[in-house]
């Protein structure tokens, strides 16, 4: 059952850290190709291993074949851990690979407990194409420092102590959590025992020594708190695997600061060398593609960049795979560190690091009524989102309203009922429908909060939240410090361009009337003169065109959307709703529900990506125009409307180019924008890889907020990335 790589090298073979990283990377690429060939996925890599030796058959507690509530999740999770095999590569510094996610073993369409229906809301969700987030798991950040401090044994003790002081109403929570933690400790002890056996089996002295060390560390951290740099990272690796195996749990945090105390102590005690630390960090990145933040201000505004921040970059450079590292840009950021990060971005062309703006994020979050100190603790932790580790429940990136669909409903409503249609009338109608969509979404979030424990309690991440073990409640039941619910709008460019096209071509220039446009749209612009009209509409003033009509409409829509989402706070006191613009990988699915639109988009074509413009937004594809426009539509309450840039590698192939890019990123981050993802893509290479994904199996792209191996993406998704690259690679004069 165990996946092991024992006695693969001669006894005489010695290894440098560099070699070990190279060999581990090689294997990772090979495994990625296998993974891609067995189906691929339009999401994070998760470090998941594809294998045939271990399968788990779900034990349902509902007639629909799914699992709901504490007992079923505990039972299934503990059973998985009892039988989950060890994956061990003696070249690696750590163990902690997982093979499956329990949440994905549930039958399709059976995630939400049917005993808590929301049929009335579903009607509106369908009408406006809302992804309600009801039934979605986690998407908030645990505070791993809780685990660093207590270890699994300490967590167990705390649970048992707290259970004593509570009455029976909290029993389900405590009994479940206690069972889970006991299962985890038993699992980790078994892993340690197996590592000892492997160490005895291995003949190569270097690898044997490594295995014994791994075994010793694993036995210790099975229940005790980690004390060294290597132990802390091993603890993190298992945490990743354990939370992923449960429900793909998210994590991350301020990596450099989390590890700094261990690093400094080990260096001082002479038990750790710098290059060894780099090796451990590289192995951490190899183990899982979690989101981490580096640099940025501490609560007092002092820059957190330290030696370990540099080592993180070096390690990411060495392993050079899909690393989700975010650098938080602020005015005191270590300049050398920043420059170095930009150089790596262009050298490796793997989409890391990306950049967040401290000022825009902190000021926005403070507008929700939080202190500057808390705002600074809210670190990059997901595709497009920030979270205060251990203090918030957020549903980040799980709730999406398709603004293009709302536009379509509004347009149809207006042409059917308005004797004198115009862009202004259309906007009035849009206001009405968007309010209905947003309000329904708010109700959906409340429904989720009310009943999520009955569907899927957060048995792992609960343990790493401040106050939940003390209160004895699942995170959705009121125990979190803050409820900052993410409500994202998708398709803003399609809506803005459509408004602009109607205003410019119909209202202002009178090139056609609404009736004619409607007729062409119903025919998908494929009727007589349809293509001509499509071109006419498409080439009107677009969002990101540079102080264009489209830009003005995008700002107007953003203001309206922000106002409506913020109004949910009045409807549901005690809960804070935060607007953002993002689409994650919904661009294709959202597009499929929307027929032809006035911006010249045809039936079912994808909507725009996140806050980015529709392709062809400007003849010169100017990055500056685009970033300026995206900066202007930020809702401004601490959540993001990210910029996604695709740049040609030739743009920065010398020091001067790197300097220019560093200045560009810094400017983007100080002109209103919140988050910046950059792909450095050779247009020719991406086209070749699109034809044959296995030609460049190690090609990594930043897809939405996440980075992924290009080969892992579906053809439709690859096409999206290719289109975005094409949009900014117009021939320059």
């Amino acid at each position: 059952m165990m996946i092991k790589f024992i006695n693969e090298y001669p006894i005489s073979k010695t290894f440098t850290f560099e070699e070990r990283i190279a060999l581990l990377r090689e294997l990772k690429i090979k495994q990625t190709v296998e993974k891609a060939k067995t189906g691929g996925a339009n999401e994070d890599d998760y470090g998941l291993i594809v294998q045939n030796s271990f399968e788990y058959k779900l034990k349902p507690n509902h007639e629909n074949g799914s699992i709901y509530g504490y007992d079923a999740w505990v039972e299934n999770y503990c059973s998985i851990l009892e039988s989950h095999p060890l994956y061990c590569n003696p070249l690696d510094a750590f163990v902690g690979k997982g093979f499956l996610f329990l949440e994905r073993l549930r039958p399709a369409g059976c995630k939400w407990n049917p005993d808590y229906p929301y049929d009335d809301l579903k009607v509106l969700f369908d009408k406006y194409n809302v992804v309600s987030g009801i039934d979605n798991c986690h998407h908030f950040t645990p505070d791993l420092l809780i685990g660093f401090e207590l270890g699994w044994g300490g967590i167990l003790e705390k649970l048992e102590r707290q259970k004593e002081v509570h009455d029976g109403s909290h029993l389900a929570f405590y009994d479940s959590e206690i069972a889970v933690v006991k299962a985890i400790i038993a699992f980790l002890k078994r892993m340690a025992d197996e590592l000892f056996e492997l160490a005895h089996e291995e003949d190569n002295p270097t690898l044997k020594h490594n295995l014994f060390e791994m075994a010793r560390i694993n036995r210790k951290i099975a229940d005790q708190a980690p004390e060294t740099f290597r132990e802390a990272i091993q603890w993190m690796c298992w945490f990743s695997m354990l939370s992923r195996t449960y429900n793909r749990g998210s994590a991350g945090g301020q990596l450099d600061e989390m590890l700094r105390p261990y690093y400094e102590r080990d260096i001082e005690n002479g038990v750790l060398a710098k290059e060894e630390a780099v090796f451990y960090l590289a192995c951490l990145f190899l183990q899982d593609s979690r989101y981490f933040q580096l640099g940025g201000p501490d609560v007092d505004g002092k820059d957190m960049t330290s030696e370990i921040s540099y080592l993180c970059l070096e390690a990411a450079d060495k392993i050079n795979i899909a690393c989700n590292l975010t650098i938080r840009v602020h005015d005191k950021l270590d300049k050398v560190f920043y420059k170095k990060s930009v150089a790596y971005l262009f050298k490796n062309k793997q989409g890391w690091p990306r950049y967040s703006s401290d000022s825009a994020l902190a000021e926005g979050f403070m507008k929700c009524g939080f202190s500057l100190e808390l705002a600074r603790k809210r670190v990059a932790a997901g595709c497009h989102w920030m979270c205060i580790p251990g203090m918030e429940y957020t549903m980040n990136d799980t709730v999406k309203i398709n603004l293009a669909k709302v536009f379509e409903v509004s347009y149809d409503d207006m042409v059917a009922n308005e004797p004198k249609p115009s862009a202004e009338k259309l906007y009035e109608t849009y206001q009405k429908h968007l309010k209905l969509a947003v309000d329904a979404t708010g109700k959906g979030i409340m429904h989720h909060l009310k009943y999520q424990t009955k569907s899927q309690p957060e048995l792992i991440l609960n343990l790493f939240q401040h106050g939940l073990i003390e209160k004895g409640v699942n995170i959705t039941d009121g125990g979190a410090n803050y409820y900052n619910m993410c409500v994202d709008g998708s398709g803003i460019a399609v809506a803005a361009d459509s408004f602009a096209a109607c205003q410019q071509r119909i209202d202002n220039e009178k090139r056609l009337n609404y009736q004619e446009l409607t007729k062409h749209m119903k025919a998908n612009y494929e009727d007589r003169d349809g293509e001509y009209i499509r071109q006419l509409m498409q080439h009107s003033e677009r969002y990101c065109g540079g102080e264009s009509l489209g830009d003005a409409w995008a700002i107007r829509i953003s203001r309206l959307y922000t106002e409506l989402v913020r109004d949910l706070n009045n409807q549901h006191p005690g809960i804070n709703f935060i607007p953002g613009f993002f689409s994650w990988s919904n661009t294709i699915a959202f597009g499929k529900t929307v027929s032809a639109t006035p911006n010249g988009r045809k039936n079912e074509e994808p909507i725009n990506h996140g806050a980015n413009p529709c392709s062809g937004f400007r003849k010169d594809g100017a990055v500056t125009a685009m970033c300026h426009a995206i900066g202007a539509i930020q809702p401004g309450y601490g959540n993001c409307a990210p910029v996604q840039l695709e740049l040609d590698p030739g743009i920065a192939n010398d020091d001067e180019g790197i300097e220019k890019m560093a200045a560009m990123i810094q400017t983007i981050m100080t002109t209103g924008n919140t988050l910046l993802n950059i792909n450095i893509i050779d247009a020719k290479k991406i086209l070749e890889a699109h034809q044959d994904p296995f030609k460049y199996p190690d090609l990594v792209v930043r897809v939405t907020g996440f980075t992924a191996f290009f080969a892992m993406l579906s053809p439709e998704f690859r096409q999206l990335v290719v289109d975005r690259v094409a949009a900014v690679n117009t021939d320059k004069t």
Partner: protein, 299 residues
């Protein structure tokens, strides 16, 4: 006073230091055989026709007052003898198959675009580059833009061929922050043959420019078999060596992207089969210049 430009390109990274906005003036007083921006040569507005983008809607045939859109052997063509460049067809061609090469704009129009990227110029040490065509052909317009830029604390560079009377040239150059000028060929016969003018006035303007004390960059486009010889580069290097304010001698590799533009204007292009110099040759040339003691760069 309105000027004639072909384009404004924001986020321009190859037209001087930092991040820049480049304004391309229309109209040139030289006619370099290899020019890769043929639309910038004539002062007159010309019609580009990109047949691949045409959706066959027929609007241009209907609207053209000159009946210049014609079908020849079943193929849509423009009768260049009839076309007066009025632009009416381009205005109605939303497929962007027909595009006018120039647009008349005011300095204010240009400034509106320029100002949008001010933060980028400031953080990167960039600014605005006025390029061509030839800036000297629209000097008053250029001065107006330069003045507005300076009022807004924006640095201005110009790219010029220096082919103009001393006073006029120096008057303009004295107001800019950086000059980028070309010496294409030192051999005057060849210069005449390939650019249509003598280089004597250009070379003497370089000497005068040096006396102005503003920084400048000299560039040579490397046209295979014409300007890329060791001899040409070395002789230009020798000419530049005594100069005091030259900050860089830049060797620009041959740009092969001109062909589709020539085709769209129904113009003959003699350099369609030429390819850029390989990296090894570029390195050799750069080393030649550096060994002679000049700061060199491949652009």
């Amino acid at each position: 006073m309105p000027g004639m430009i072909t384009d404004i390109q924001r986020f321009s990274l190859n037209d001087g230091p930092g991040i820049r906005t480049t304004v391309f003036f229309k109209g040139c007083n030289m006619k370099c055989a290899w020019c890769h921006n043929p639309e910038t040569i004539s002062k007159k507005n010309e019609l580009h026709f990109y047949a691949a983008k045409c959706i066959g809607c027929g609007r241009c045939f209907e609207i053209c007052p000159q009946k210049a859109h014609v079908i020849v052997n079943g193929v849509h063509k423009i009768d260049r003898n009839l076309c007066i460049g009025c632009g009416q067809c381009a205005e109605t061609c939303y497929a962007e198959a027909l595009i006018m090469s120039g647009k008349a704009v005011s300095a204010q129009d240009v400034m509106k675009e320029i100002l949008q990227d001010k933060a980028y110029y400031q953080n990167s040490g960039g600014g605005v580059t006025i390029s061509g065509g030839e800036v000297l052909c629209q000097k008053a317009f250029a001065l107006e833009i330069i003045e507005s830029c300076h009022e807004n604390d924006i640095n201005v560079a110009i790219e010029t061929n220096l082919n103009g009377p001393h006073e006029a040239v120096m008057d303009l150059l004295g107001k800019t922050d950086l000059v980028m000028c070309d010496i294409k060929l030192l051999d005057d016969d060849k210069h005449k043959k390939y650019t249509g003018v003598s280089n004597s006035i250009i070379l003497s303007n370089v000497l005068k420019l040096d006396r102005l004390g503003i920084p400048y960059i000299v560039r040579t486009p490397l046209i295979p078999g014409i300007s890329d010889s060791n001899e040409n580069i070395l002789s230009i290097t020798e000419f530049l060596k005594p100069l005091k304010h030259l900050i860089l001698y830049e060797l620009l590799n041959f740009n092969p992207l001109g062909a589709p533009k020539y085709a769209s204007l129904d113009m003959q292009y003699g350099f369609g089969a030429y390819t850029p110099l390989p990296a090894t040759r570029l390195d050799e040339l750069q080393t030649l210049v550096k060994n002679a003691g000049l700061p060199a760069k491949i652009g």
